[in-house]
Amino acid sequence: MAVIEIEGLRKEFRRLRGGRNVAVDGLDLSVEHGGVYGFLGPNGAGKTTTIRCMLGLVAPSAGMTRVLGSETKHLHTVIDRIGSIVETPTYFPTFSGRRNLRLLGRVDGIGPAAVEAVLERVGLADRADDIVKHYSLGMKQRLGIAAALLREPELLILDEPANGLDPAGIKEVRQLLRMLADEGRTVFLSSHLLGEVQQVCDHVAILARGKCIAQGPVADVLARGEAARMVVKTEDMENALEVLRAAGFEAVINPDHILVTAPAGEGSRITRALASKRMYVSELRPMEVSLEDVFLDLTKDDPS
């Protein structure tokens, strides 16, 4: 069952001095129930605008979004099953974190016990009585995650939740998101940190300039990257490059290794070619492909 459906979503913003800025351009997306869905792309790709359309904050210029089966105009019927963060979460700056959460909780009749539970869960219990304007960006993000969790939502829509967090905080958030997904919730995670997301997501969609350029299970998207390559290291790199090319391999030399375009199964052929010329490899391994590589690969021909 799809928890998020987006069909032909387009959003244009009019500029003050005339002209239009197309933030989202004909986006189609379907997010199935369960797991962590990564919504990736560089800054300005249209991720936040898409999320704002999903949450009814921005009206689409064309197309539609459906969240938990409800279109935007009926969003109020399912909003209590959704927890969300849109960009940097904002709360009443002169109220404490705890008081902010209690105020929000009262909207849905959520009591103080639930507030304390989410504060513990995001590691903010010790600073919950500090006023929010004294919070660091990372603490504000934690407060935002706490607010998103307050309703025990079945769908979490999180826009850059790791913004401003230190490495330990990013790791904690990653573990928390994985835990939430393992509890049976769906986490829709928007981020420009492709490497981070790769570690936690089951499915991803990659957005560039308002368009979806790839989507599917992480393994499938990774497979869309450049052809498999092998990293080769020897003592005499220059001669080794000549030998490999003579053996029919496409190879390039990098400062400390040779990159050979070949699948992992070709390892024995590489060693045999080099050994026949009395050259011995000190390292031979398949090059890991990351979402970042895939993204750069998919967008390298984009003239804009």
Binding site: F13, R52, L55, G56, L57, V58, A59, T72, L75, H76, I79, I82, S84, V86, T88, P89, T90, Y91, F92, P93, T94, F95, L103, L104, R106, V107, D108, G109, A147
Partner: protein, 316 residues
């Protein structure tokens, strides 16, 4: 109702609400104390000191002797003024000028009945406070981005706007009525112990209560206008600036000055009619109730526009 309860609670807990109340309480206390210590003299002579009076008399006698009569000095019909330089002239000048009195005695006690006029004048300030609180209440939410967070909890924007304006109106009305009650409490000792409470019969208190309610009513109208301006500008400063520019420049200067026929439809004139509870020929002889309804119509109209704009406009 839950959202309304939260909004009211939050509006009372806002820092600006507390600051405004504390400043107003300080002013009320200062006014009460000042009046208490200044209203103990039953009658006070108002005019020049005895020495100054003597100097004025001598100067006027001198002028009279030289030939010119000071203002207010005259002789009975049929009598003649003695010629300059004669002894009769000197007697005449000393008799008439020398008997003149300068200044007089006034009742400087604080009369409790004066609070009616005080409250009419203060109603402007209460309206300004109401505008400020309401414009800031919604404007600050937009400026900080809290509105965006709230809309992810309650996406029905019209419901949010209705709830918020009710909260803003309720809180400003309560603040203004409580401040007025405290002001009466602060001024009463000055009248009871150092002044006079003469004339404060049942009819006075009934009339005075209506003035207080009309002042509260004007604050409610100002709060709705301020709220709408803050919501349209999505900023406190925009809400306050719009109010100032409209009342001081557009209504006070341009519209009122250049188009006299529009005066009966302007805010300030109708507010004066409403608070003073007096018809004014310049405002088409409109009754206070009609003036109040007109003002309320303006406020609700502007709020409706702000609500429709809020419903349509993107939250970015």
């Amino acid at each position: 109702m839950r959202l309304l309860g939260i909004e009211i609670r939050r509006a009372f807990a806002r820092r600006l609400t507390k600051i405004v109340v504390v400043i107003a309480l300080g002013g009320i206390l200062a006014a009460g104390l000042t009046l208490f210590f200044k209203s103990h003299r039953a009658t006070v002579f108002v005019g020049p000191s005895p020495q100054q009076q003597q100097d004025i008399r001598n100067e006027q006698i001198g002028e009279c002797m030289r030939g010119s009569l000071p203002e207010g000095i005259g002789v009975a019909p049929g009598s003649s003024i003695p010629p300059v330089g004669t002894a009769e002239r000197q007697n005449f000048c000393e008799k008439f000028v020398g008997q003149q009195q300068f200044g007089g005695f006034q009742d400087k006690r604080f009369h409790l009945t004066d609070i009616a006029d005080i409250f009419k004048h203060l109603s402007v300030w209460f309206a300004i406070i109401a505008w400020l609180l309401a414009a800031s209440y919604i404007g600050a939410e937009w400026r900080t981005g809290m509105m965006s967070t709230l809309l992810t909890w309650e996406p029905r924007r019209i419901r949010v706007m209705v709830t918020k304006v009710i909260a803003a109106v309720f809180v400003t009305f309560v603040v203004v009525m409580v401040l007025q009650a405290l002001l009466v409490g602060a001024l009463y000792p000055a009248a009871a112990y150092r002044g006079t409470t003469a004339g404060t019969n049942e009819a006075f208190w009934r009339s005075f209560s209506y003035i207080g309610l009309r002042s509260g009513g004007l604050a409610v109208i100002a709060a709705i206008l301020g709220f709408a301006a803050g919501a349209l500008g999505r900023n406190t400063a925009a809400g306050l600036g719009a109010g100032f520019v409209y009342l001081a420049v557009i209504e006070g200067g341009l519209l009122g000055g250049l188009i006299p026929s529009i005066r009966p439809w302007l805010i300030v004139g109708n507010a004066i009619v409403f608070v003073n509870n007096e018809r004014n020929p310049d405002i088409h002889g409109r009754s206070p109730t009609q003036a109040a309804l007109l003002l309320l119509g303006y406020a609700v109209g502007l709020w409706l526009i702000a609500t429709l704009v809020t419903k349509k406009r993107d939250v970015t």
